[in-house]
Symmetry: C2
């Protein structure tokens, strides 16, 4: 992958967020694999994605389907968009395949039914849990938790920023490239401990969405001085 | 205070954030009291504020100075901008004076020296600690934690939003009025548990400020649909 683009996998990538990222990255020229617990579910999601794109008149792209472990093995950079309840078990499954790779953790530790209430795990964040579980052989970078899947599914640009947290600056920089490839601005937002802020903000945005009937995101201001 | 504006106090209001809020609220027609640990310190801060305004050609306003307890007693709505190390002790001091009132908690639980790293307290947030300590007789509403004091000190409008958390909607609505009086947009952001997200975001913004040499804030997007 030195000169060419890295191969990307999205584990648990069958939902709106996962397929939205898959389409945007594929359109940007990346080879993208959607992973799911079974090959069948991944294939169904890819078929849905093709149909949605055809219905909306968006240029079709090729996205592959695999089981989560095969997807993690085949990819250079692995994103994960599973529900928090499956976060640790999915990580245990794919851990051997993540050695030497970047894991982009999109997980938000929501505790149903009160998903509009911040209820962070004891370790502080899903991103921190992932880094603790995977150890130093894998760079965990958290990102995309505040992006409304509703907007990601649209063909056009996105009016929200992505705060990128992780312990290594190089790994964050590679994820910021992928944020930009998906049509957003990405920013270095500190160590993986700071994922707590971004993950918690998702519950605030869910509350705002209910209160103001919208699909809210956040944007940084005050940058140019 | 039925028809007229509430009297406002800002405990620990001698810093850039406190005096910035004091000036903006006073300019909007509120009676404002800056509180500090001693009357002398509060008077010195008010004198500084008058000097800064004169230097910048900003219309002078009248702001009063008192000790923290006297300020809390004299006000209808009490804001607090103390360092986290003095958060609980200040609350214990003024607790009797806060009965039946709204406390606007601006405190961010930073743990020096790593202030750009999210390190939330066990209770989740300073706002939650305050609500637990004060009990049901006082409505704690957290706000203003993500506003750069640098920008608040300027005379002009502010390009950042304020996320307002608190368990009672009425209390949040009164604080949103004060956010607007200070020149910003305020939004209902959920229960006091959600203060964790907003307080944690301050450490992210401190990191962003260092990384990008700026005074960053956040703004909600995707509201109008």
């Amino acid at each position: 992958m030195s000169d060419s683009k890295p191969v990307l996998a999205i584990l648990g990538g069958t939902g709106d967020l996962g397929t939205g990222l898959a389409r945007r990255w594929a359109e940007a020229g990346y080879r993208v694999i959607i992973g799911s617990r079974t090959q069948d579910k991944a294939e169904a999601a890819v078929a849905d994605l093709q149909q949605v794109m055809a219905d909306r008149g968006i240029a079709q792209v090729t996205v592959e389907a695999m089981g989560n472990l095969a997807a993690a093995e085949a990819a250079d950079i692995v994103a994960m968009t599973v529900p928090f309840a499956h976060h640790s078990s999915t990580l245990e499954l794919v851990k051997p395949a993540l050695k030497g790779k970047i894991l982009i953790d999109v997980t938000v530790p929501l505790v149903p039914p009160k998903v509009a209430r911040v209820q962070l795990p004891e370790a502080g964040s899903a991103g921190q849990i992932a880094q603790n579980l995977l150890g130093e052989d894998t760079q965990v970078v958290s990102a995309f938790q505040n992006v409304a899947a509703h907007h990601l599914q649209e063909g056009k640009g996105l009016d929200c920023d992505v705060l990128v947290c992780g312990d290594k600056k190089d790994a964050r920089a590679k994820v910021i490239e992928l944020v930009e490839a998906a049509g957003m601005r990405g920013f270095h937002a500190g160590s993986i401990a700071n994922a707590a802020a971004v993950e918690a903000m998702t519950s605030v945005l869910i509350f705002v969405n209910k209160q103001y009937q919208c699909h809210a995101g956040i944007k940084l201001t005050g940058l140019a001085e």
